[in-house]
């Protein structure tokens, strides 16, 4: 922790050394003067040197009136190679720590950033130094780690709200995966490279990619975007509770919370996994196939008994709900009016979800309480469903009676015709 403060102090010092007010004035002046950098570089045959000119046109910094010299230094008014004289402040292609200085010069200056985007945080460089990336770069001089431009590719930086951006929620996983899924690149660090693949099996990725929910978590939501964990969170394992707060609250007060901490087991991840967090279902609970409880507990004793009884309670409500639902649907398809019972049955769905949530207390009674509430609702729906089906039978009986009347009428008519013609 102390190390982090040291580093941030150093960086802030670097940042303040450059008067940012002057820079702002310079940016304004640049947009008026002819930009020699762009006109020369655009005509160069090497993609490496010409490419940035075209790319940069659509960079958020270009939109805000910044030019090449704001990052690369030099003098755009000087002719030819003279413009790129280090004595005129030319820095060329910033690498390693230089990148942090170049970006941080503006992005760590709250007064400066306020002119462009008052809502943007200014602690990215400080946060970065707390991350593993930052520590390796600053402490061990490892230049292979990610810096600003690894995730925000220079010359094509776009805000996260732009779906083409490398840091738009739907693209973050591929952006991180560009390095972290690369086995060659990760080999010296000895860390797994399957996170991207595993994440893309998860319910979170499904919500983000298939359901278009941009608030669904991706890499940075748990691991932090610049720092080691999201702002305000001490440890990755605590991130889940930010969204899944009821479960986190239940879990925090449960016996598992203490035991897991003592045993060094990660909280939520112990049962739900980390990257490939699947959509949960009732099979996770209990002592049967696919149940996670039996990883520690023995079926038929202690915790195993509790797990089995919670599962049994939830199953009973689920079965009762399905029965009520199918009864009402059958009645509805037969043209019966069951919208009120169907409406009331929604409360059973709510109770079922609450019961499933209450599993995280790991106390049978708190689950049973919600189950009982739900069973009351389903029982009433089942009664009304049967009532509707009885009504349907009554309809058919009514039809039978009317048909009987019609047949009787037909019969008597036939008789009457016969009488008529016998007489004549």
């Amino acid at each position: 922790m102390i190390r982090r403060v040291d580093w941030s102090g150093l960086l802030v010092a670097v940042v303040i050394a450059v008067p940012s007010g002057a820079l702002r004035a310079q940016a304004a002046a640049d947009s008026a003067a002819p930009d020699m950098c762009a006109s020369c570089h655009a005509s160069l045959p090497m993609e490496r040197l010409a490419g940035p000119v075209t790319l940069f046109a659509d960079d958020i910094h270009a939109h805000q009136g910044f030019g090449c010299v704001d990052c690369h230094g030099g003098d755009p008014t000087a002719p030819g190679f003279a413009s790129m004289d280090p004595r005129r402040g030319f820095v060329g292609r910033p690498v390693g720590r230089q990148v942090l200085q170049v970006c941080g010069r503006c992005h760590s200056d709250a007064g400066f950033m306020r002119q462009y985007n008052p809502g943007l945080r200014v602690d990215q460089v400080v946060e970065y130094s707390s991350s593993v990336h930052g520590q390796r770069l600053m402490g061990q001089g490892d230049t292979a780690v990610a810096t600003c431009v690894s995730c925000h590719p220079a010359h094509q930086i776009r805000p996260p709200s732009d779906s083409r951006s490398s840091v738009a929620p739907e693209n973050v996983a591929t952006t991180c995966g560009a390095c972290h899924a690369d086995t060659v690149r990760m080999q010296p660090y000895g860390i797994p490279t399957n996170q991207l693949e595993r994440y893309q099996e998860s319910a979170h990725w499904e919500a983000l990619s298939a359901l278009g929910d941009r608030s669904a978590p991706t890499c940075n939501d748990c691991h932090g975007n610049h720092g080691a964990a999201p702002p305000g969170v001490g440890w990755v394992g605590n991130v889940c509770g930010q969204c899944h707060s009821v479960m986190a609250d239940y879990f925090a007060t449960s016996r598992h919370a203490q035991v897991f901490t003592a045993m060094g087991i990660p909280g939520c991840a112990a049962c739900h996994g980390n990257h490939a967090i699947a959509r949960t279902n009732d099979t996770l609970l209990g002592v049967g196939d696919g149940a996670v409880c039996v990883r520690c507990h023995v079926a038929g004793a202690g915790g195993g008994l509790v797990a089995a009884s919670m599962r049994q309670a939830i199953d009973s409500l689920h079965a009762s709900f399905m029965l009520a639902d199918s009864l009402l649907q059958t009645a509805e398809q037969a043209g019966m009016e069951v919208s009120q019972p169907q409406f009331d049955l929604e409360n059973a769905q709510t109770a079922l979800l609450q019961a499933r949530t209450a599993v995280h207390t790991f106390v049978h009674d708190s689950v049973q309480r919600h189950v009982d509430e739900g069973l009351e609702v389903t029982a009433s729906a089942i009664t009304r469903g049967h009532g509707a089906l009885d009504d349907l039978r009554f309809r058919r009986v009514g039809l039978g009676v009317s048909t009987g009347v019609i047949v009787l009428l037909i019969g008597s008519l036939v008789l009457r015709i016969w009488q008529l013609e016998r007489a004549s």
Binding site: M247, L409, L415
Partner: protein
């Protein structure tokens, strides 16, 4: 039917004559005709009775209570078609209505008077009084309905 009646044995003939006597057939005929008329009139009469729900609740619904019954900072659940809706009177006295199905997993949301906004008990989702999801897992705001007060009636309709 045009065949001439064949000769029959005594008792059988007597029975048939009885069966075919015009009085009896007339009686059966008029009774079953009456039955048929009832079988037609009854469903038509029931059909003409206005249903309890008044009119098609497809795009609007009239709530079963008056605006006075909703105190400031309170809410009620109502039935919109067969989906739940929630109507709230804000602390400033304004009436607003939303779909009450939480956008996370469809639980029914409620007004938390202590917080002054909507809350879903299932997974602690919070929505402000504009229906916007402000905390927890819900991915998007609650669908908003239009509220109109006509005299003593509150009419909630789907926005255009």
């Amino acid at each position: 039917m045009s065949d001439a009646p064949r000769p029959r044995s005594g008792t059988r003939r007597g029975f048939l004559d009885w069966l075919l006597s015009r009085t009896l057939t007339t009686w059966i005929l008029s009774t079953s005709l009456g039955g048929l008329i009832v079988a037609v009139i009854y469903p038509v009469g029931r059909y003409l009775m206005p249903p309890a729900s008044g009119e098609s609740a497809a795009s609007s619904v009239t709530l079963p209570y008056t605006p006075d019954e909703l105190a400031p900072n309170s809410a009620k659940i109502f039935k919109f078609g067969n989906r739940p809706g929630i109507i709230v009177r804000t602390a400033t006295g304004e009436l607003r209505a939303f779909s009450a199905a939480c956008t996370h997993l469809g639980c029914i949301v409620q007004l938390r008077e202590d917080l002054g906004h909507f809350w879903c008990a299932c997974h602690n989702g919070h929505f402000d009084l504009n229906g916007v999801n402000i905390q927890g897992p819900p991915p998007r705001p609650l669908d908003a309905f239009e509220v109109n007060v006509r005299g003593d009636q509150i009419v909630v309709s789907k926005g255009a």
